[in-house]
């Protein structure tokens, strides 16, 4: 006997294209997609802190957190690495990535290499007859993967050189041998489709090489950990405002909820957590802009913001009671969208490990 809907039926995966290309291009017009890309390549030329403010505003103003997350993955892990490391011909993709004509996806994670990016199995072997490489391997979790036009991916080119023996590549959708899967179901961020991307004897030209994989990836991750998480600051601002309106309006026992001190204290703690996390995030972005040591502040900021986002969303569900739990009310989705933040851009354990290393432990 079968009963119940499948996860996929229950929680339909929307894609940017479903959401309307209009929304994606609107993000381009607003300067979100190219915020940190130099002006000469079609971007806004902003530093890390200003870029974070753009994403914070987008998180506040856009009710589809998954869509803004898709924009973050696109900018920080695709457009930015191309701007920082790409060849002149690769940089020709930047205006399209900035104005929303193109969608980018970053394909790093593999079935056996998640936190341990040194364990990549995807290989890039020199193409015998031609210049260039042949890619083979499976990437298991690629945000924007099912719909992207441009992929930044990573493969082992020198098996004797450990984690420094990987190379970053820029690969266009439609390249023979690049096989992308259907969107898979997931807990949250459903405005951003994710799926697998497989390389099966996928031949790419020499000019697909972006640079040393470790270097390119860590550069993007640093910006992602600092700036992308500003989305969650904006989301929390919006959510706390909603909670305040709710507890001032709703009455129980003949009194407003806000009159109960344990309720108002909860809201104050939400704000305290948000403001503390915000300062850490600004500090991390400032460190990037000053070319200062940013790994520790970025790890601390990522931890603080992601944990605050989950706790704030959980508090909001409690403050709204049964309504907070109902899907129609638009409260519970914040919790589902927040959980991913504990995992992507390096899990909380990995951030603690990076912080411990930076502290010389």
């Amino acid at each position: 006997m079968e009963f119940g809907q499948t996860a996929a039926q229950r929680d339909r995966c929307r894609t940017i294209r479903d959401a309307g290309e209009y929304d994606w291009q609107r993000l381009g017009e607003l300067g979100v997609l190219g915020a940190a890309i130099p002006v000469e390549h079609g971007g806004r030329g902003l530093g890390a802190l200003d870029t974070a403010l753009v994403f914070e505003a987008a998180g506040y103003g856009c009710h589809d957190t998954g869509l803004i997350f898709a924009a973050g993955a696109h900018l920080f892990a695709v457009a930015l690495p191309i701007a920082a490391f790409g060849s002149e011909s690769q940089k020709k993709k930047l205006p399209g990535l900035c104005d929303g004509t193109l969608i980018g996806a970053n394909a790093m994670t593999e079935p056996d290499a998640g936190s341990d990016i040194g364990a990549l199995k995807t290989t890039a072997v020199r193409n015998g007859d031609d210049d260039g490489y042949v890619l083979n391997g499976m990437k298991s979790f690629v945000s924007n993967g099912p719909i992207a036009d441009v992929y930044v991916t990573y493969a082992v080119t020198d098996p004797t050189a450990g984690h420094l023996g990987t190379t970053g590549f820029v690969v266009d959708a439609g390249t023979p041998g690049l096989v992308r899967g259907e969107p898979f179901g997931k807990l949250g961020m459903n405005g951003c489709a994710a799926g697998t991307v497989e390389f099966r004897d996928c031949a790419v030209p020499e000019d697909a090489v972006l640079g040393n994989g470790s270097l390119v990836f860590q550069h993007g991750m640093l910006w992602e950990r600092a700036c992308l998480f500003a989305i969650y600051l904006g989301v929390q601002d919006r959510l706390i405002e909603r909670c305040i309106r709710h507890v001032k309006q709703r009455k129980q026992f003949g009194r407003r909820l806000s009159d109960f001190q344990s309720v108002s204290n909860r809201v104050v703690d939400m704000r305290l957590r948000l403001e503390s996390a915000r300062l850490l995030l600004y500090k991390a972005c400032w460190a990037i802009d000053q070319d200062d040591l940013a790994v520790l502040p970025a790890a601390l900021s990522k931890l603080a913001v992601s944990q605050a986002a989950v706790q704030t969303a959980l508090d909001a569900v409690e403050l709204f009671g049964g309504r907070g739990y109902q899907t129609g009310e638009g409260i519970e989705e914040h919790l589902r969208d927040a959980v991913g933040g504990l995992i992507f851009s390096g899990t909380s354990d990995i951030q603690r490990q990076l912080a411990a290393l930076e502290l010389g432990l």
């Binding site: 990016i117 040194g118 020198d158 004797t160 050189a161 450990g162 984690h163 420094l164 023996g165 040393n212 470790s214 270097l215 860590q218 550069h219 040591l293 790994v295 490990q353 990076l354 290393l357 930076e358 010389g360």
Partner: protein, 86 residues
């Protein structure tokens, strides 16, 4: 002076790798042991080493210098630190 500095850096880096990455079992560790190839320097160890260089010698290794050539063995890392010190 630079030779002396290089020797000192090499000695301290050898100590770090032996004590912290190899749990003190260093029988085969030399200045030219291929650290990447033998899997001694994985990403976490590399980060730890870069932090150590910064705190111990006051030398900041720019990410672009974290390459297979520069991190091949202790000799090349000590050379990099000496060069970066200027």
């Amino acid at each position: 002076m630079s030779d002396e500095y290089h020797r000192d850096v090499l000695e301290k880096l050898t100590e770090l790798v032996r004590d912290e990455f190899l749990d003190g079992e260093d029988e085969e560790l030399t200045a030219t042991t291929p650290l990447m190839e033998w899997g001694i320097l994985k990403s976490i160890e590399t980060t730890r080493l870069v932090t150590y260089v910064r705190t111990e010698f006051g030398v900041r290794v720019p990410p672009a210098q974290v390459t297979t050539e520069n991190f091949r063995d202790l000799q090349s890392i000590a050379g990099l630190v000496t060069a970066l010190r200027g």
